[in-house]
């Protein structure tokens, strides 16, 4: 694969750049790494003509921690906690992706209880992640109130996690061959309570924001991502589905106990910001549906099939596993030498990295404010881009 490196100098004076009738001058502006839209520390170099965006050049790397390299010096079990620090809003799903890959490679079996709890936790976290996304989208578009509503609902789900796992953000819960701990005795009751609380809240979201004419004006027909381009850019998750591609690993290659649950995969019509918004709102409802179906039938059994002290032996070779996180497909490639207790090489294909580059295509020709809307509906988590 060849990469053409384009520096700013190549773009400052593009040959034959059409002169505007007003004889305007193009200029660069740095959005980030310290900027309210950066949501962490993402830097976008934007080439502007007045308010019109000519080009967006993402410059990732401000939160690069070298997680993949660090993993080469940690044991199979220890690398799980690193994944919490990637997409911190899908920490459990990241845990699961790596754990599942290791399980597949090492041939570790799990039991239905483990898989059901994993599925429940993953869906609760998808819900939590989307609720927060909704709040942040409101704030990005200038309505501050949804931000606090989003956080309020996020807290409620966070309390379920806290009770069982003991952590709220970096949870390190799903382990190769099991779970760190069994669920709290109150888990089922509390989850049902939370679902009953959340259902009307999502309808409230619709009345507060979705139906607002300003919001629709800001999102409809903005940043249209055609299905072919979405696939070519490697977009996954709600971004891909909003472009009309019904590709959801939970349905296409069911893992966990998703095959037992009855749920729909929402798909957009044309891939504009509004479609991405609606797909996520609908995904919240579908997540609630999945949890409702599974919460009463958690089978009995131990919460781990492998002792935590036991050495995990991953045979030599390259192993791949993937999972649908809240933002798309997280792919894990493990190269193992069959001897050492650690991966020879760990490669993570994170959904946000691929989704980020959609900004470069979507924002061109729109206004500064549209970059915000586009970036917000791509729902980027920056530490997952940089790893």
């Amino acid at each position: 694969m060849t990469v053409t490196v384009k520096t700013l100098n190549d773009i400052i004076a593009p040959p034959g750049a059409a002169a505007s009738a007003l004889a305007t001058e193009e200029y660069f502006i740095n959005m980030g790494p310290q900027h309210p839209i950066a949501h962490g520390s993402l830097r976008l170099v934007v080439r502007l003509d007045g308010e019109t965006v000519r080009e967006v050049i993402p410059v990732p790397g401000y939160v690069h921690r070298g997680l993949e390299k660090m993993a080469e010096h940690l044991s199979w079990r220890q690398i799980i906690h690193l994944t919490d620090r990637m997409d911190y809003l899908s920490a459990l799903m990241n845990n699961w992706a790596v754990a599942r890959t290791i399980e597949q490679a090492a041939g570790l079996a799990t039991n239905p209880r483990i898989e059901t709890i994993r599925t429940l936790m993953a869906e609760l976290q998808r819900l939590q992640s989307h609720v927060l996304w909704w709040g942040v989208l409101g704030m990005d578009l200038g309505a501050f109130t949804p931000f606090l509503y989003g956080f309020r609902e996020r807290e409620v789900i966070g309390e379920i996690f806290e009770e069982t796992i003991g952590a709220r953000l970096t949870m390190n819960y799903i382990q190769p061959g099991g779970l760190m701990d069994d669920i709290h005795p109150d888990f089922v009751r509390k989850t049902k309570q939370v679902l009953a609380y959340l259902k009307p809240k999502i309808d409230e979201y619709d009345t507060l924001l979705s139906g607002n004419v300003i919001l629709q004006e800001r999102l409809r027909n903005i940043g249209v991502l055609p299905a072919a381009r979405a696939i070519a850019l490697g977009c996954t998750g709600p971004v891909l589905r909003a472009s009309g591609v019904p590709y959801d690993l939970r349905k296409c290659e069911p893992y966990g106990v998703y095959a037992q649950a009855d749920f729909d995969v929402p798909v957009g019509a044309k891939g504009d910001c509004w479609d991405r918004y609606c797909v996520r709102i609908e995904e919240m409802r579908q997540s609630i549906r999945i949890v409702e179906q599974l919460i009463d039938g958690i089978p009995d059994g131990p919460h781990a099939t492998v002792k935590f002290g036991a050495r995990i032996k991953v045979p030599e070779g390259i192993h791949y596993g993937q999972i649908e996180t809240a933002r798309g497909i997280l792919g894990v490639t493990i190269a193992a030498d069959g001897k050492s207790d650690a991966p020879y090489r760990l490669r993570l294909r994170s959904p946000n990295f691929s989704n980020l580059w959609a900004v470069t295509e979507l924002a061109r020709g729109w206004r500064i404010a549209d970059i915000i809307a586009i970036q917000s509906t791509l729902d980027l988590v920056v530490p997952d881009i940089d790893r």
């Binding site: 200029y27 502006i29 900027h35 309210p36 839209i37 308010e51 409101g138 704030m139 990005d140 578009l141 200038g142 309505a143 501050f144 109130t145 606090l148 509503y149 309020r152 507060l208 924001l209 607002n212 300003i214 919001l215 004006e217 800001r218 206004r367 500064i368 404010a369 549209d370 915000i372």
Partner: protein, 377 residues
Amino acid sequence: MAGAAAPFALFAAAQAAPAWPVKTVAARAAEALPDHPWTAVLYMALAFAGLGALVAVLGMGLIYLERKIAARFQCRLGPMRVGPHGIFQTVADTFKLLFKEDIVPARADKTLHLLAPFLALSSTALMLGVIPYSPILQISDVNIGVLYIAAVSGLGVMGILLGGWSSYNKWSLIGAMRGAAQIISYEVSATLALLVVVMFAGTLSLSGIVASQAEGWWIWRAPVVGGIAFLIYLTASTAEINRTPFDIPEGESELTAGFHTEYSGLRFAFFFLAEFINMFVAAALTATLFLGGWMPFHIGGANAFNAVMDLVPPGVWFLGKTAFVVFVIMWFRWTFPRLRVDQLMRLEWKLLLPIGFANLALGALAVLYDLYFFPGA
């Protein structure tokens, strides 16, 4: 022309037998000047001190109010720690801002950078001087009050423009340019809405306009036309004072802080204060022009009802109406997302302006043919 005479006749009637004798501070000073010059000076000093105090009290009060109202909308408590229910929070914040380092960017145009916040604040403070708070409480009743308001409120854009321009920061510059474009555009609609009331009242003086509403507020007394003008004025003045959904010059999530990105400490506080005083002025003017100002809720001819309404003092009526409009403007802010800059322009030039013109024409017809409640009263 009968049509032209009608409004002036109305004005004459309102002046001939005022239910509430209007006495401004300036008038008192002028009265005292020949015999007691020092009393006149005292009156003027009182007026200046009163204006200064008003700016400070309004700033503190409105900021506290906004925080508490925002908190209500967002299911939280808001400031609670400094004093009972956090009433001293704004005082504490003022001191914090006073003691903050005042940073001027190295390559900024220093004079303009330092001047801008004062321009922004002084233009709003100038408007406070002509607002009729109550029949006995108005500093000066300029006979061209509406024109004065339209002119002085336009001055506020200078503060934003200079502040953004002189900061030597691209974000500030974008914010300033947006602000200038927005305020100048929306002034057109705001003025068109003002003109409707001026036509009905037949005077440009603000206390004259209040007096002309003794038979009923213009929002309902001028059927439909008054209501439309009220909505246009409320929208346009929300845009003029850069409040959500029209806060694009500040556009926090887009432009970090827009035109005041490079301001800190006291100078930032001045911009902040100007925003809140502006909100009060916009609300007070909306109340004065469309909701009768200090005039109690009267229905022409229903004298018994009107007498009951008169039991509430005019100052309370004024404050109540202004507070209501302030609340509506805050309500906008904590509910709506922000418009995009081109959508903002489209709303003004393609929607509000044609409606404003049509409304003005309709209003002219209504005045010409006495098609409103209690004409000639």
